[in-house]
Symmetry: C2
């Protein structure tokens, strides 16, 4: 099957591209490297050292004999996107090419606007392009479980049947998202439902939970294929961040009481869910919605699991409760359905002690690359101008790396405590 | 009360600005005249001859002694918007400054994208500006009844209480809008609900029905104050368009069977609803939603009422059923609640025979300005590139005006049939 992965250089996109290629699908990647640019903007780097995409793809080709096509450009540039789709003629398009961090969207007005414009315009472009040049192509779009918020009723998969004043109707599940980023995904979902209806195109909206893990069989084949592992306060997903905090001896930063409950999944299940959706496409005119996660935990439960895993490795892990920078319920009912992908054959990787050990081991392996200054939250939902401050006067991790890169001994560089910005 | 009207040069905005000024409120208008630019783009002009805004405001001042402040600029330009709000310090902001035509948003991809970006970014800017410099200011935002679509259940005002699997919750009413324009308003509504919650600002979302009529007490005071009356296929609301079609002897163009049922209101009720919302502001952190219409009719019922009114005036009115260019249900259940504004004191102007007579009289009065070529639909929801064609080879209305403006006799100009574009 010919599959085009928009955002194939990112965390989920990279793992998905290689997995689909390994399964024998013909894969192309569309990416403009803006995710790497955001790293520079934020003064944060993935814990794992990732190579340029061209090097990654050459390694993949050398190891497996499989080629992944690459189109470098921005999906908000319609002429570029249309050209890529015309040339590759995909049967499925997987759309990861969005700004996907809630804190990033809450930094200030410009980040809120750029997140919503980027995501909404990109998805509109994909919908128009499919209709105009590849109308039978199946769009598989990454949404988020965060679109639903935390209502006091069970969360269904995309739609809910309501009885009201004696009449019944199946309607889109009401959305109560919790950031300008999550809102952008809600906007996308509404635009997709409409476009599938008026143009008869095929779409699957995957409302994904919080993803954890770095290793899939494919990226484990060679250090040059390693996936990114974000642990900073802006792009780091919670379990990944906790593992890195534990590995470097920082307390785990639980926001508030930690009763916030969310759906979680292993990145190995992300890639499999995408393939399941590809192999069984939506019908023409259908906008399917699947909730893509395998287990639900509270943030405090996640922290306690990391603490337990630390014990096994002889690492003492503390849990800090810090003021919640987000506006969200710290205790709430949460029961989200997620049976559709299981019914279609997903065999979940559950979060187990052994898995936690291996996540922790990866964090420990790369801990010298960790920057301890980028994990405390600096983006407060209640403010409209969150001036993030990068710390450069610290004596480990980042400063040592900078010194090494500059040919200086680490200690000398770490001694330069003057420069704050 | 100090009230700032964003989009005060438009159809609803102009009537509202003068009404509020007449009631003794201190009013300012923010507008960038893009609505007049769209007239030029579409080759369509309001039936009524409207003056430049500066002339309108001078006339208002001369007649009433009341000044309306004017800020010329674009609400998507944050620095401009922030400056205007800082200077005027409004207690309420009425936000009409959006692209408000469904067909305009469906012309092609560029119009879909520009509609959603303009409306979403403008509203985000207003929300941020209120939070940053005028946090107690009450935002009154124009939504649309079209946000709800036509579900098979009663439509509530913004929120609905659901019982699901034995649990109850009040949630935002599920939205199923029918154009990229209507979708932009749904996006706005979600953004507003979130912003009010995290920042504690005040907002009222007025989901307005289809507005009809031109005359309010204020604009009737002088020909120089006359409001716009749009009757073209893109910006013309249905009752206004039908009256003009009747006045110039064209059949009324009912899309499909005409069973599409919508909420309607007189523009005199629009302005009063806005004042009611102003005088009783939302609480801090509250996002109220009112359905702003007074009666519901099917499109065919509207056409039949115009036909009846024509009889009284001795005008024979025919009704044509043409293929529906939109993707929408032609027969459906429709029962939308609209009691909140009535409870707060709205005294509705119902659509009556005498009102229809006066609407028809205005259409007849200005019928020499009517362009008979701009009323048939050229924008088809099922297509992604609707190249609209302006007709310049016709022998009446527009051509005569153009000839007069050029100093030529009308017949000579009308005889030039060569130029099509």
């Amino acid at each position: 099957m010919k599959v085009m992965v928009l955002g194939g250089d990112g965390y989920c996109g990279w793992a998905t591209s290689l997995y689909l290629s390994a399964q024998g699908h013909e894969v192309s990647i569309v990416d403009n490297y803006v995710r790497r640019q955001w790293d520079h903007e934020l003064g944060a780097q993935t814990l794992t050292p990732i190579l340029p995409l061209s090097d990654r793809l050459r390694t993949w080709s050398r190891l497996t004999g499989k080629n992944v096509d690459l189109f470098v450009g921005d999906v908000t540039d319609y002429d570029f996107l249309l050209g890529a789709i015309k040339q590759f003629e995909p049967e499925a398009i997987i759309h990861f090419a969005e700004q996907r961090s809630a804190p990033y969207s809450m930094i200030d007005r410009k980040h809120a606007v750029s997140t919503q414009v980027n995501n909404v315009v990109g998805t509109l472009n994909v919908l128009f392009a499919i209709r105009e040049v590849q109308p039978d192509c199946h769009l598989i779009k990454l949404g988020t479980m965060g679109e639903y918020g935390t209502p006091n009723i069970d969360i269904e998969e995309g739609y809910i049947e309501i009885e009201h004043n004696g009449r019944r109707e199946v309607v889109p599940f009401p959305k109560q998202p919790g950031s300008f980023y999550h809102l952008s995904k809600v906007h996308d979902s509404h635009n997709m439902m409409f476009a599938t209806k008026i143009w008869g195109i095929r779409a699957t909206d995957l409302n994904q939970g919080v993803v954890y893990g770095t290793m899939t069989d494919e990226v484990a084949m060679d250090e040059a294929l390693i996936n990114r592992l974000d642990y900073d306060e802006v792009f780091g997903t919670v379990l990944n961040r906790f593992c890195v905090q534990a590995a470097i001896g920082q307390p785990l930063t639980v926001y508030g009481s930690g009763g916030q409950t969310r759906g979680f999944l292993d990145i190995r299940d992300t890639v499999r869910c995408i393939e399941i959706a590809c192999l069984s496409p939506a019908k023409r005119g259908e906008c399917r919605v699947y909730n893509q996660f395998t287990q639900q935990f509270s943030v405090l439960e996640i922290a306690q699991k990391v603490q337990e895993a630390g014990k096994d490795l002889g690492v003492k892990v503390e849990i800090d409760h810090i003021p919640d920078p987000r506006v969200e319920a710290e205790h709430h009912y949460y029961n989200a359905k997620h049976s559709k992908l299981l019914d279609m054959g997903l065999q979940p990787h559950f979060l187990s002690d052994s898995l936690l050990d291996s996540l922790m081991n990866i964090a420990v392996k790369y801990k010298d690359r960790a920057d301890p200054t980028i994990m405390l939250p600096q983006v407060n939902w209640r403010e409209t101008r969150n001036g993030r401050r990068m710390q450069t006067n610290i004596g480990d991790g980042m400063a040592v790396r900078a010194a090494q890169a500059a040919g200086e001994p680490g200690v000398a560089a770490a001694g330069k405590k003057g420069a704050k910005n």
